[in-house]
């Protein structure tokens, strides 16, 4: 029964968004409390569904004829991958609201609008992860795109209108590519169904899959931040308000990776087949995209190494980490895809934590994100909480054993070693660079030796900042605790992910080869 409740994650979020949208502006102070309650109940439902379903396979949740004439059904189901990502969405929603607790403290914050857009976005994300009907999936996918624009353009900072528009156009271009693929698949199959599993049974001609696969995969991968279509991600992350960066990196980029696996690779597994010709070792779309993923890993890490804006460091590190997810998916091995899904979860948590530290805890108090300026602020002494938090999150993010990132990255690398040994080596180098940029950011922001001398040549006293609020502490405990828990006992997730990966279409796991 609890598993059927998973659908309520969607309904609760949209109902909450609707209520907040019509709430009189005078009651703006209530908005954040109401939004937190909605997010908490969504998280509770997701957790209950996760626990009840255990290691079961795909569980049907709802199935109604929506547009019978077009064969479109309102079909929801959750397999292990979906349940893990729904859980992540619940966590990210709660944490996002906790870290935007300052919105609504003063008039003119437009708090009810903010939380309405926030919950609409969350509802769309839940919907994507639970949809089995491709049409429904696409509808939720687009619902998740629009609120992002407004969240960033209205409440963002640095070049917010540019960042928001860039992000919206990239996302919409990606979804147009996806729509072309879906329309073509729908028209080709001619069977008047949009059910993912029914369509996956249809033997699409290999020549059709050869162009439909790269189109749909790229469409989704744009949202996953795949190089060279990643450029929206850093600017969008930097421009976004903290909660929106957390959601963007935490769950929205996962939508892209999820779509790559669930739609592109499942529908068109033969798109991964070798072309029959090889150019510099590139012999299929699979190697093309794996190459892009590896370039993304290295490129994101190297660019993060030279950034001066603290948030850009985290933004580019997201590109790097999402490259690992895509590489894991493209290994087409059980262990690689397991690792990719786990990495989605892990990165969702850790990116949220990092953005919260940088964008909320540090920036709200110092009002700068410039590493050069921060390095003269003695933040290690002034803000020990933030400093140690960044140390923990950074360690987890660079893949220190004991945290969730380690388990995920090791699995991806093992999978990649089997499929593309050279790429695995390069990705490993990328992880090492990841240690370097995290270390550099940490050192410059918090533990710089530079002392500030005032006009008399006396070192300036350590500045007093406002104390850490309960909402910030709660959010930190939630995210860091989850990462630690998964790192120490990864089977909590892996036992659910592995059967779901095993149940993926056989054509996919055998490397697309018949």
């Amino acid at each position: 029964m609890e598993i059927l409740m998973l659908a309520y994650t969607i309904y609760l979020s949209f109902a909450g968004a609707l209520v907040l949208a019509v709430l009189p502006r005078a009651l703006g102070g209530l908005a954040r409390v109401f939004a937190l309650l909605i997010a908490l109940s969504g998280f509770a439902v997701a957790l209950a569904g996760y626990i009840t379903a255990g290691a079961q396979g795909s569980v049907a949740i709802a199935d109604l004829a929506w547009v019978p004439a077009m064969g479109i059904h309102y079909t929801l189901a959750a397999d292990g991958i979906s349940r893990v990502l729904v859980l992540l969405t619940g966590l990210a929603a709660v944490a996002g609201i906790l870290f935007s607790w300052n919105i609504g403290e003063k008039d003119g914050d437009r708090a009810n609008e903010f939380f309405a857009f926030f919950l609409a976005l969350i509802g769309g994300v839940y919907g994507v992860f639970l949809s089995v009907d491709l049409f429904l999936l696409f509808v939720f996918y687009e619902i998740a795109i629009v609120p992002k624009y407004f969240l960033i353009a209205i409440w963002g900072s640095t070049r917010r209108e540019y960042g928001a528009m860039k992000l919206a156009l990239y996302s919409f271009a990606g979804s147009a590519m996806v729509l072309i693929g879906l329309l073509a698949a729908y028209a080709t199959a001619g069977s008047h169904t949009m059910n993912l599993y029914a369509l996956a049974q249809y033997p699409f001609p290999v020549s059709f899959q050869m162009w439909a696969f790269p189109l749909v995969f790229t469409g989704f991968a744009i949202l996953a931040g795949m190089w060279p279509f990643h450029t929206w991600a850093p600017t969008g992350h930097v421009a976004a308000p903290t909660a929106a960066s957390m959601l963007l990196a935490g769950v929205v980029m996962k939508l892209g990776a999820y779509g790559c696996l669930r739609v592109a690779m499942t529908l068109f597994p033969h798109g991964l087949d070798p072309w029959g010709v090889s150019f510099l070792g590139i012999d299929s779309w699979r190697t093309v995209f794996a190459l892009f993923a590896v370039i993304g890993i290295i490129y994101g890490a190297v660019v993060a190494l030279v950034q001066n804006d603290f948030k850009f460091v985290i933004g580019y590190s997201s590109v790097s980490h999402m490259g690992l997810v895509l590489l894991g998916l493209l290994t087409l091995t059980q262990i690689g895809i397991d690792g990719a899904v786990l990495q989605m979860f892990s990165h969702g948590i850790l990116a949220g934590l990092l953005f919260a530290t940088v964008g909320r805890i540090v920036y709200e108090r110092t009002h700068t994100r410039d590493l050069g300026i921060l390095s003269r602020m003695q933040l290690g002494k002034a803000m020990p909480f933030a400093a140690w938090l960044f140390v923990i999150a950074g360690m987890a993010s660079m893949g220190l054993p004991g945290f969730s990132g380690f388990v995920a990255e090791v699995q991806v690398l093992i999978g990649a070693w089997k499929a593309f040994p050279w790429f695995a080596v390069v990705a490993g180098v990328g992880i090492v660079v990841g240690v370097a940029y995290t270390w550099r950011a940490m050192q410059r922001a918090f533990f710089s030796e530079a002392t500030v001398l005032d006009v008399n040549g006396v070192s300036a006293p350590v500045h007093e900042y406002e104390p850490v609020t309960w909402a910030e502490k709660a959010g930190v405990i939630l995210l860091a605790g989850t990462s630690l828990l998964i790192g120490l006992y990864p089977r909590l997730l892996l036992d659910v992910i592995a059967p779901a990966v095993q149940a993926l279409p056989q054509a996919l796991l055998t490397g697309g080869r018949p």
Partner: protein
């Protein structure tokens, strides 16, 4: 012509044209009431009376159509009645009623009676165009429609822009009507009949002649003007900008629906069932016009600073999408085009309603006039959000379903096997571009700061309750039709 004279069954014809007759009579009533009893009343009272009577007339006619789904068969083959035609006609009547309701508070006219009467005459033309299956009837009905719209465009007599818009519209329109009539005369010369069904039979027995190519090109030019397709679109931006807002809404809505209905009928008439060289001429013409409209419309809209011109270019792009469906010419794609035209028209009427409100308070329709609308009036801003996102094709709004249904029909059409996929890809790529300019408006509405008066207070927006009501109803319809797209399927089959 013979069949028309011989086979007319007058009682049949009477029932078939009853909705049109109702509109004619109501337009006379509006004139009489306005010019006799209400002569001494205030302008606002006269406008309200004229519009309300007009709305009642539209509703009665729509009700009659709804209650008698297939009342009459065919009157001498010149006019037909089918569920699809009835759906388009009911749609046109409802759109006209909405436009009249939104003009109650408009202040452009000192002659309310004449305004409402001419709107109703234009609607009569639209109904006739939709049902017509004879070249002569099509031409006469299109002229009735066009002449009404020319007059209406010039109705803001104190505005030079309105006069300029009307003159441009009239000159382009007169020219294209002449071309179309010329094309019709060639078609008649080739086939010896003005009836569309008989033209189809006669054409299928002939080989392609240069004369036929000329005739079809001329007809395409005439109808291309009505739907504002490239390269016959030049009038649209100026007319949309200069015409009074309700008139622009009527041009963009009812007139579009009627023109697409007649395009579907003509395409059925020109293209015979089996694949034939003749059909390919027409399809090639339509496909090129579609591609040009999609690309030029979307690119043109990117650089506009006037929201009306922006909507005009977006209308050109939307006409391009619909032309794709007409070129595919399957029964499904015909229905899909009609569904698209009706839902697009509904959304556009709403958007023009919002523009009218903003214009009244800011005195301009420039993008900056929309700044901070969400803080001046959240409800109106929310309706604008819904309209523009629906036009951009964002689910779950109705514009998305219309697009999906249309493009799926195009891809499935056997005749579109070569050009279908490339053009659908172009259309979807262009619609990704279109999000940019819709977001330009929405950015002003939601992100920019509202203008403030000297006390640094946000200037309030003057909105009448009827406008709020109508815009809310339209927005709700756009959302509900998006969530329950099957709701219309008893009239217009989906998929």
């Amino acid at each position: 012509m013979n069949s028309l004279v011989n086979a007319v069954n007058y009682s049949n014809l009477f029932f078939l044209t009853l909705p049109e007759t109702i509109l004619e009579i109501v337009s006379l009533i509006v004139l009489i009431v306005d010019l006799s009893w209400l002569r001494k009343s205030t302008r606002a009272a006269r406008m309200t009376a004229a519009c309300v009577i007009g709305v009642l007339g539209c509703l009665v006619a729509a009700g009659w159509l709804y209650a008698h789904p297939q009342a009459a068969g065919i009157a001498g083959d010149a006019l037909v009645s089918s569920p699809l035609v009835a759906a388009a006609q009911i749609g046109i009547l409802l759109l006209t009623a909405l436009v009249l309701l939104l003009s109650i508070d408009a202040e452009f006219s000192r002659n309310p009676g004449e305004f409402a009467a001419i709107v109703l005459l234009g609607a009569t033309g639209m109904l006739l165009v939709t049902a017509a299956r004879d070249l002569l009837v099509i031409f006469v009905a299109l002229e009735l429609l066009s002449l009404s719209l020319y007059v209406l465009t010039a109705f803001a007599k104190s505005s030079a822009q309105s006069a300029e818009a009307a003159l441009k519209y009239y000159l382009f329109g007169g020219m294209s009507a002449a071309l179309m009539l010329f094309g019709f005369s060639y078609l008649y010369g080739l086939t010896g009949t003005t009836n569309l069904t008989e033209i189809a039979t006669a054409l299928s027995a002939q080989r392609v002649s240069p004369l036929l190519v000329v005739a079809l090109a001329l007809v395409a030019a005439g109808l291309g003007f009505k739907v504002a397709a490239v390269p016959f679109h030049l009038w649209a931006p100026d007319t949309y900008q200069g015409a009074p807002a309700p008139v622009a809404a009527l041009i963009a809505s009812g007139s579009k629906v009627a023109s697409f209905a007649v395009l579907i009928a003509l395409t059925d008439g020109i293209i015979v069932s089996r694949p034939h060289e003749q059909s390919s001429i027409w399809v090639v013409l339509l496909a090129w016009m579609a591609a040009g409209s999609i690309i030029l419309g979307n690119l043109g809209a990117l650089v506009q600073t006037s929201v009306r011109r922006l909507l005009a270019y977006s209308a050109i792009a939307h006409a391009g999408y619909m032309l794709l469906g007409i070129a595919a010419h399957t029964p499904q794609s015909g229905a899909a085009v009609l569904y698209y035209a009706l839902t697009y028209a509904l959304t556009t009427v709403g958007a023009f309603g919002v523009i009218a409100i903003v214009e009244r308070s800011a005195g301009s329709d420039r993008l900056d006039a929309f700044a901070g609308l969400s803080r001046r009036n959240p409800l109106i801003a929310a309706t604008m959000l819904i309209f523009l996102l629906s036009l951009a094709g964002i689910p779950p709004l109705v514009g998305f379903w219309a697009k999906f249904n249309l493009f799926a029909a195009v891809l499935r059409a056997p005749s579109a096997s070569y050009w279908g996929l490339p053009l659908v890809i172009t259309a979807l790529a262009a619609s990704a571009v279109s999000l940019y300019y819709y977001l330009q408006v929405l950015k002003r509405v939601y992100v920019s700061k509202p203008p403030q008066n000297e006390h640094s207070q946000i200037a309030p927006l003057r909105v009448s309750s009827i406008e709020v009501l109508i815009l809310t109803v339209i927005a709700l319809a756009v959302v509900l039709l998006g969530i329950l797209p099957s709701a219309l399927s008893s009239w217009i089959p989906l998929g």
